[in-house]
Symmetry: C2
């Protein structure tokens, strides 16, 4: 939907964005008292197609196994909303959108946005839908940052919050990896200072963006996962070629990750979203005291981390949990044993499924909503 | 020195390289029975200037504090040799050298070399110097791989071996990071398929090589080191700029690492040397059995790792130690507590200094060479 010009999105930078378009998907039905809404927040390179085919890639929803009728996030009971983040490239206003002042794509004239801006845009949609309080906000990675921002910025509007595989701030190492990606994009002469939209479908900084994706992708997997998946196995050959072809399967896999990414993602959007993540620091927003950020928050939290996630480590999740406890908050914490690295949150991890199911059922009981007992096919093996 | 055409370097690939030039530095004097020689093997982007100013950068030797008169590697007692690796860009034959068949720089026509080839070239120099057995071979990171290759390929010619912060093979994650760097270089149109030497001093793939260096540099530091050094501190400003300038100090630091690197390193050499490291797998060279690689090796080993090194982890060092034990080898192992990451081997880590001193003294006694007692200023605080 597109909000009228007199309903701009007010950004943390002080700038405003109008008209604001938000691309979103919904699943299930909003109940009569509008108490069964769940917002799912997506990660950096994902989109609003959480449980439906992505029309661009033709691929199934990125959390298809989690969201749907009879699934853990049960669309027979919950009304699920997933909004493409502002600054992105899935249909919401972003750097590839038309700048009304020029009639041309924004490019790098697009204002820098923050995680809080992404959430503020979602609030506009929730207001539009007439929903006072969300039953839950759920998300992994950058989605988890939005979950935290939701609870902190709108403490009365979120009953339950499930931040998964995420952090309350972007560490120096995380910023460093993002900066490598941005420099890879900007080093590509086809980036043209961000003004590449006239160059046709294949005219953008494809090589630079592919390199950025390759570097980032390494951080999404654990060393153990890479070793298990590929080790030093060679690609369709018995011995090394003494050359620079992709001798090793892991090289071929990474190249494929890079090449396919550029077909589905806008390079400028990658710059803007990584910047938003780098800027995220809930503690700094509250004079360096993370606990202060959570002061007065009534939301029930379920924080989930994965042992082998080195991008957003369990240590960072524990810091969130400690701050919530210090602020008198209500929090459950589950560290899940997995060697799959950061991307474990996108996979059918049985312990994550069981945790989500138990927590959502308990919160549903709080709110007088139906529980999973009504849909008997739910469960770890469901 | 340059070997005559009839003394080519025979490579693992089956190709030969002639004439072979080796650039090297020596420190101290070879004793009468030629029993006091130490070869120091350098890491990926380092060079032969281990303890003397680098004429290109004007910077002091990269292990100045370790190597010199009265230092731990005491040039009053030992004859220290450090050779620029073949395939590099410090004066030894590499892709920027003239291909005698064409009279032009080799570029990517240069043959792919391996860690074993690097060592084989060093053996030619050692033979030329008339040295039968080295007292010790010492090196960190890729230097450590050469140390292992020395001991395995020339089991009678190395009395003591000190591989530091290294591994017996390049893991999938390590290959992945190198592949990102190579793709960053190759994505730069100024790379021109490796044929950029005519383009003048500033004509190479500077942007791509800088991105490669930035990505690699992250892997040389631990997350803790990055957090301690930079955290989320801003660069000369009180608040973020809402832009893509280097707001954070860590961004500025990484950009500086990238920019300064391209002034001192040849992009093609970076491709060739990373490839050599990726190909390194001592176990695969011996039917997958690392212990078999060490069968019959008489060398005394001192293996050193650092707790926060995630590039070449302690687990990999332990695998080397176990294989040496299984092969009946003689090995000491020290895991040093440090939060400085992989690059700790380049720093004055007191425990590393003490370990090296103790091990070298014991080996000097084996060989009837003077010990550090003769140079009383050596020690942890020396």
């Amino acid at each position: 939907m597109t909000f009228p010009d007199d309903q701009p999105l007010v950004l943390d930078s002080g700038q405003t964005l109008a008209p604001l378009t938000l691309a979103f998907e919904t699943y299930g039905s909003l109940n009569a008292d509008k108490s069964n809404a769940i917002v799912i927040c997506h990660a950096l390179t994902l989109d609003q197609h959480v449980a439906s085919n992505n029309p661009l890639t033709g691929k199934p929803g990125w959390w298809n196994s989690m969201v749907g009728p009879g699934n853990i996030i049960d669309t027979d009971r919950f009304f699920v909303i997933c909004v493409n983040v502002v600054g992105g490239c899935g249909g919401s206003t972003g750097p590839a959108s038309i700048n009304p002042a020029t009639g041309k794509p924004w490019g790098t004239d697009f204002p820098v946005i923050t995680i809080h801006d992404m959430v503020r845009a979602q609030v506009m949609l929730i207001d539009h839908l007439g929903i006072d309080q969300l039953f839950a906000v759920i998300g992994g990675s950058m989605g988890g940052m939005q979950v935290l921002a939701w609870a902190v910025d709108y403490p009365t509007r979120v009953h339950a919050a499930i931040p998964i595989a995420t952090s309350y701030y972007h560490s120096a190492q995380n910023i460093a990896f993002h900066e490598v990606g941005r420099q890879a994009v900007m080093a590509d002469p086809d980036w043209r200072g961000g003004d590449y939209y006239d160059a046709g479908l294949d005219g953008g900084p494809r090589k630079g963006l592919a390199v950025a994706r390759m570097a980032a992708h390494i951080t999404y997997l654990s060393e153990a996962a890479l070793t298990r998946k590929f080790g030093r196995s060679l690609q369709d050959r018995e011995k090394v070629t003494y050359g620079f072809d992709a001798d090793f399967q892991v090289e071929s896999y990474l190249r494929h990750q890079g090449i396919t990414f550029v077909d589905r993602f806008d390079a400028n959007a990658y710059l803007y979203i990584t910047r938003a993540m780098d800027y995220f620091d809930l503690a700094a927003d509250h004079n360096g005291h993370l606990a202060s950020a959570f002061e007065g928050v009534q939301t029930r939290f379920c924080v989930i981390s994965f042992t082998s996630d080195w991008l957003y480590s369990t240590a960072e999740a524990r810091t969130i949990v400690k701050a919530l406890n210090a602020a008198g908050g209500n929090v459950s914490f589950v560290e899940i044993e997995s060697d799959k690295g950061h991307d474990a949150f996108l996979l059918d991890e049985p312990e994550m499924i069981a945790t989500l199911n138990g927590f959502l059922d308990a919160r549903a009981r709080d709110c007088g909503l139906p529980t999973s007992a009504a849909t008997p096919n739910i469960g770890v093996d469901g």
